[in-house]
Symmetry: D2
Subunit: 288 residues, 4 copies
């Protein structure tokens, strides 16, 4: 069922929902799903509404809805976005040598669980070419030679041009293991998603499973978050944990962790693709 | 913060939320929290809205809001209810000899986590009198002699009169272990909550931990549900499970189970007291 | 590291562990991992021991260990088995049209997480041929025409011959959706593993997600169990649950369920392949 | 059933289990439960065995078993301990004003779930006197005036004398909220248990729920650990997490957190009382 998904952020005040739903109802629009949140700390209001496209008059498409909505948005000082589910989101994967997250996303994409187009997977190694191409997705290898800052900068430049050209709605760092340049992060705010293999803020940085093993924690976790210039400090979208015990080696933490990583990433990514994640400073509002 | 909580069920159609929020906004009402659900199967719509009392004009209290809302409710054929958080809900506990659920509810009540009055705990045994009275709650023992149907019917008659007199918003069967007469259940639809010590529909009826042990399941659970005349078949409010293993005896299942029972009951009861649970046939809509 | 894995079941009595570990220590054997369980109900004792192969004298391989162990086994009336981790277990998959469990097992196999050989995947449809063959595994289609008992019996006969020829350590019904003939089940006791898409004993039989939706449960689950002639009644190896809510349609239960199914199956299968699951009547002892 | 619980830590080498179980079997001892762990990193071995007291010869009590065991212990350079379940462990609670952990432990103690004696609860405030005394436990108030180091040192001196006199097997900091002096911690290594209201190492130190709220995590947790001189850095016994969302205020995190805290503490404490927790450097081995 084709839907228009409207997401709104604005200062909280009386009458927002009445105005928005009044406008939609005024055009006969049927609301399939709606969720809202008023943040008492920041005074911001968040709203997500799914309108059934066919319930609107013939000829009243997304552009007409946007135009009709504009005065309301101005009145309430809204930052807003309208998606059309008939226009698939565009996803680019950045990968390295580990395949569990890439394989999982490609599987879910192929099975129809993740509704998006994947124009390209970019990796700094050739390892995953076969996997990616078997799924009918274009694979591009852009090596990022360690210890050679000039070559590395050039590589990120090349990746930046690919991204500029493809204009993705989201870039997923599927265990990419490289730190993106700050300006790269800044160019795509709220559009780059990373999966970190720990329950942040515990064990940020390198080798989180080793850190977890050393500390002797009884659960390990994974965190799906937006990437900002501050490493592992961006807004968290989703997290989960799994139980381990004293008998589990670092390798076994890795094995258990891979399952957490891919389910956490899959949930967070699906929510992003369905416009269910709104930014609230360095925190997120998630309407699952 | 004093709030009016409005819950609504009606046939789904265009304009419900616009009408309701329009009315509230028209009186300057500030919405603290709102959640909605349209059920595609039944065509029913469910809405829960918390309005900040102080945001409405002085002198415009719950009765005025009810009166103002009535025309909207008629227009949309709504079943609806308006609660005032300044009027505590009334809770009666039915208990027997096991104390873990009673102790937990009394603790949460005393600590302010469960916002309600508890006029009386009724039990068919004396065992819990000390615990209940230490919490400053009236304890009444109404024995239900097994094997004596006349005396038992008389006991339920006495309990019915107490309940009629107290007019509770909810009766909790806190491991009461007696089957209530069908007419008793019918008198308080959607107001009697039971905690069953299994993950329903598995292991309905007697001795669920024994049943679970015999079947060799790897998780046990608990279910909080509304009581209907059909034993263990009423609408489910909340459930949860915990992991067990081959080394756990029935007594150990009971120990683990007690923790699940009391947390599941506490969640379900709190949601009920906060008008977060709406009936949808034999299913529930829960806005947590 | 090469290991010999010894699993033992016998009547419980004094001195079993002393005898077994005494024998191993007497040959200089180093124990990497050991777990035991005495069942107070049945009086049965269960033991699993991993011996480091290289810690035994040169020339003292699995056959020598078996021969040395035989007198102890007789003395204590043991049913026992010795596996050599250098001899991979053999796994056959039975599949149909749904691919999530097959894809997950093939992925885990390829990534080294499941240590076994997969000589063939047998399916009653052609749908998964590409997926299976891309992983380098032989695919064989044996249709089981519904409504034609003679053709169906012939199909199971053909499958039985393949199985007899391959002599697998385990057959996994990866959402195979066909009921195996009773004599087929009887031929491979404790060797056929099914994944059922509910938390058994809830929602046995057909269309468990529909049943779960109708009943309005708040968690759904999956169950990995050995297949017996009684449908969905065999010994349970592993189960897990996931939270759902009133907004989830049957299709969304299926989506959430697929993740539970594949993780539950992966855990249960790995434990089976590592000889961590012992039968105790219709229950299992699992040493994870 | 009376049992002797033997816990052992020693350098790993061939023959430990054979020697220990051989000795027990040699006296006719029946083993109810046994668990072991060899740590490949440290080369340490850990063993816990429950022997049924009545299976040993009449007159062969814990002292005789200790004497018989001593040569084995010397041979393998063991640190070891033998508990007699007929001698209840002794538990002292340190509390402050928050009652949820204290109430939970007192409830579990009264219900028989925690097998121990509680000679005294020491608190720096009077608030919990009624609760503690209703449970028949001695309550002692030792104020720790903030901003007065001399008075505070005196208070800890007084508490130290009480502890010295009572010789507890374990001291539980049940949300005590005071930092114990380093020498106090050093006097009772592996005997002081704290419940920290975060998933350590995240949010160590003060106001963890505020920290969690600020960071925008999607799960909160609690950690039960042994206290060392390094704040929140001691060996972790048990942890768990619960899901929260963007709508939860700090107060709601506290409410959810209280449930995690008390279940995590209850599990960790029960394991300690049953000698199921062994120290392995700054990590723990837990045989649940």
């Amino acid at each position: 069922m084709r839907r228009y998904i409207l997401t709104i952020t604005c200062p909280d005040r009386v009458g927002i929902v009445a105005a928005v739903t009044g406008l939609i109802a005024g055009h006969g629009g049927s609301v399939l799903e709606a969720a809202q949140h008023g943040d008492l700390d920041t005074g911001r209001f968040f709203l997500r509404i799914e309108v059934v496209a066919d319930s609107l008059p013939s000829g009243f498409g997304p552009d007409q809805l946007r135009a009709a909505f504009d005065p309301v948005a101005r009145e309430f000082d809204m930052a807003w976005h309208l998606s059309d589910t008939d226009v698939p989101k565009r996803l680019i994967l950045f990968a390295s040598t580990e395949d569990h997250c890439v394989a999982d996303i490609l599987y879910r994409h192929r099975s129809g669980e993740l509704d998006c187009d994947i124009p390209v997977v970019i990796s700094n190694h050739e390892d995953l070419r076969g996997l990616v191409e078997w799924h009918g997705v274009h694979f591009r290898c852009v090596p990022t030679p360690s210890g050679d800052p000039v070559a590395k900068a050039k590589a990120f430049g090349e990746m930046g041009r690919v991204v500029e050209h493809e204009r993705p709605d989201v870039i997923v760092l599927a265990r990419y293991m490289q730190i993106l340049p700050a300006d790269f992060c800044a160019s795509w705010p709220g559009r780059i998603i990373n999966i970190h293999h720990s329950f942040l803020p515990s064990f940020a940085g390198a080798r989180p499973y080793h850190q977890a093993y050393e500390r002797g924690v009884k659960l390990i976790g994974a965190t799906c978050h937006y990437v900002t210039a501050e490493l592992d400090e961006g807004p968290i979208i989703e997290q989960d944990t799994r139980r381990i015990d004293h008998g589990d080696s670092v390798d076994e933490l890795r094995r258990v962790g891979r399952d957490v990583e891919r389910t956490v990433l899959a949930r967070g990514l699906r929510w992003h693709l369905e416009d269910r994640v709104l930014l609230n400073g360095n925190r997120t509002v998630v309407f699952p």
